[in-house]
């Protein structure tokens, strides 16, 4: 009744709809609900088109089309799907990160080349086996080294993430166990030389999934604190690493501004001079506010002379219960003002910040 693609897409649509409902009930995250509902609708649309066109095989309804000869066999291709994923990665990278964008472009280029190669080889002769051989003869000398490098790089990266997330003793135990498992798997393969290629692929696939899952979990956990690591100082010491950290949390609640570090309140916020420092701005009030830092900055005139001028650094609007990071870099020591301004008007609040 339903052609193959329809079954796949209607199934995907149903799953996405169920996930959207569950996600909505559990998290209430609006963007997630919309995206998952969108996936359900789009999959249902593709399922509908597949059913209507009989997977694209239905005759064109045009006033008496003569019988259509059967299509020549062409090999199945994953490149349209990979191309779609590459296009999506490129689009996301354009917004999120230049590296992801570059990766997407490379993936698009590789997909185009592979697709052309397969398309060309499919038309080389009427014998699919010969076509596949021809494609391999041209493509494999390029594909295998690149694929090997990508797999090796991925394994190294995944292991490195797991290693940095573990403490010293944990790392020793985990990698002893991992080494033992790999050894046992290798022994198993060696003792059963008749093991099918599919079995070995399944074993390797399982290992890849476990490794990827471990790396993702490790990235979420972050780097482990080692004993030799020094306690983070309240004031940044101008090192590069400290630029990525927040030196303090500025909390706004019921018209009061408080400074926090490791959830402990302190009186005077001191910011290092001439260093990019991040402040975590937390709005615990019920109104949307702006965090404004009134300070100075260096300006160079047309003749190359530098002078200090007043500067006004402000955050994006921070909604109720939300937080944002504000990066400040003050070239001159002194006492400056940190203001909180409600978007809808009303009284602004301020506190002094010392730059030294």
């Amino acid at each position: 009744m339903f052609p193959t693609s329809s079954k796949l897409f209607f199934g995907a649509s149903f799953v996405a709809a169920v996930v959207a409902v569950v996600h909505g009930l559990v998290s209430g995250d609006v963007a997630g609900i919309i995206v998952l509902s969108g996936v359900a609708i789009i999959a249902a649309f593709l399922g509908g088109v597949g059913a209507w066109s009989r997977d694209g095989q239905a005759a064109i309804p045009s006033g008496g089309v003569s019988a259509v000869p059967s299509a020549a066999a062409v090999s199945s291709s994953i490149w349209p799907m990979v191309g779609g994923i590459a296009a999506a990665i490129t689009a996301v990278g354009l917004v999120v990160d230049q590296r992801i964008f570059g990766f997407g472009l490379v993936m698009l280029g590789a997909t185009g080349a592979e697709w052309m190669l397969q398309s060309w080889s499919d038309r080389a002769s009427a014998d699919p086996a010969f076509n596949a051989q021809l494609r391999g003869r041209l493509g494999h000398p390029f594909e295998f080294p690149v694929l090997g490098a990508v797999i090796a790089g991925s394994i190294i990266f995944a292991f490195s993430r797991v290693m940095v997330a573990l403490k010293e003793m944990e790392a020793t135990i985990v990698f002893s166990v991992v080494g033992l498992v790999i050894l046992l798997a290798a022994v198993l393969v060696a003792m059963r030389p008749r093991m099918s290629g599919r079995g070995i692929s399944a074993l390797a696939g399982l290992g890849a999934v476990v490794l990827a899952a471990g790396a993702i979990a490790a990235i979420n956990v972050g780097e482990a604190e080692h004993e030799h690591k020094e306690h983070t100082e309240l004031i940044g010491n101008k090192s590069v690493a400290n630029k990525a950290n927040t030196i303090a949390t500025v909390k706004y609640h019921e018209g009061k501004i408080t400074f926090l570090h490791d959830d402990a309140e302190f009186e005077d916020l001191e910011v290092p001079r001439a260093t990019a420092s991040n402040l975590l701005l937390r709005n615990d009030s019920d109104e949307t506010v702006l965090f404004v830092f009134e300070s100075v900055k260096v300006e160079t005139d047309a003749e190359g002379n530098t002078k200090l001028v007043p500067a006004h650094v402000e955050s994006d609007p921070v909604g109720p219960g939300k937080a944002k990071v504000l990066t400040v870099n003050i070239p001159k020591a002194g006492t400056y003002k940190l203001k909180i301004e409600p978007i809808e008007g009303g009284d602004a609040h301020e506190r002094e910040v010392v730059v030294q």
Partner: protein, 196 residues
């Protein structure tokens, strides 16, 4: 020496239509993502309140947006009329329908441009609303431009007498794209011009 005969050229049936459906799915996914970002920002920054979310002194011209929606509904009917005529080898009606579709498509673009000029909203404003508004409406404008280019090509093909057979398939694909555009615009219209 290789002496195998060359493979016969593959016969395509509804490849264009199915390919267009996948392109439409991509288009829908793109707008679903954009709208999701828009609504999430509206909650995060504006607290889900239209008054705090919209920049001060910005008035969204709702009657223009409603006119645009009605024009789109008309154009969706028109493109289906073109497919109907094409299947019956009615060249004259096909040409009329395609011509009308081009005019309606141009009217939609004109309405969108007029909305932008009426709102007088700078692209880089004080809030993220400006960027998101132009991102959604600008991307949709481009999608309509693509549809309009396809419609112009179809209109010329119809005038030149290319009716029936493969030409029907091309028109069906255009109609599918246009109906999807209409569906997407209903979504965009509700979020950007009604909910805001």
């Amino acid at each position: 020496m290789l002496a195998l005969p060359a493979a016969p050229a593959p016969v395509r049936r509804r490849t264009l239509l199915v390919g267009t459906a996948y392109a439409c799915a991509g288009l829908m996914a793109f707008f679903v993502g954009l709208i999701a970002i828009y609504l999430q920002q509206r909650i995060d920054i504006g607290g889900g309140n239209t008054n705090t979310w919209l920049p001060k002194k910005v008035v969204v011209p709702e009657p223009l947006a409603n006119t645009m929606l009605l024009t789109f509904a008309l154009s969706s009917l028109t493109v289906q009329w073109a497919v109907y005529s094409m299947r019956r080898h009615n060249r004259r009606d096909t040409a009329w329908a395609m011509g009308l579709l081009v005019v309606l498509g141009a009217a939609i673009l004109n309405a969108q441009s007029f909305i932008w000029s009426q709102m007088k909203l700078p692209i880089m404003g004080d809030t993220v609303y400006n960027v998101l508004f132009y991102m959604v409406t600008g991307a949709f404008f481009l999608a309509v431009v693509v549809g309009l280019i396809l419609a112009v090509i179809g209109a010329f093909r119809a005038l030149a007498g290319r009716v029936g057979g493969d030409a029907t398939e091309a028109f069906s694909a255009l109609a599918l794209y246009w109906h999807v555009l209409f569906g997407v615009f209903c979504f965009v219209w509700y979020v950007m011009y009604v909910v805001k």
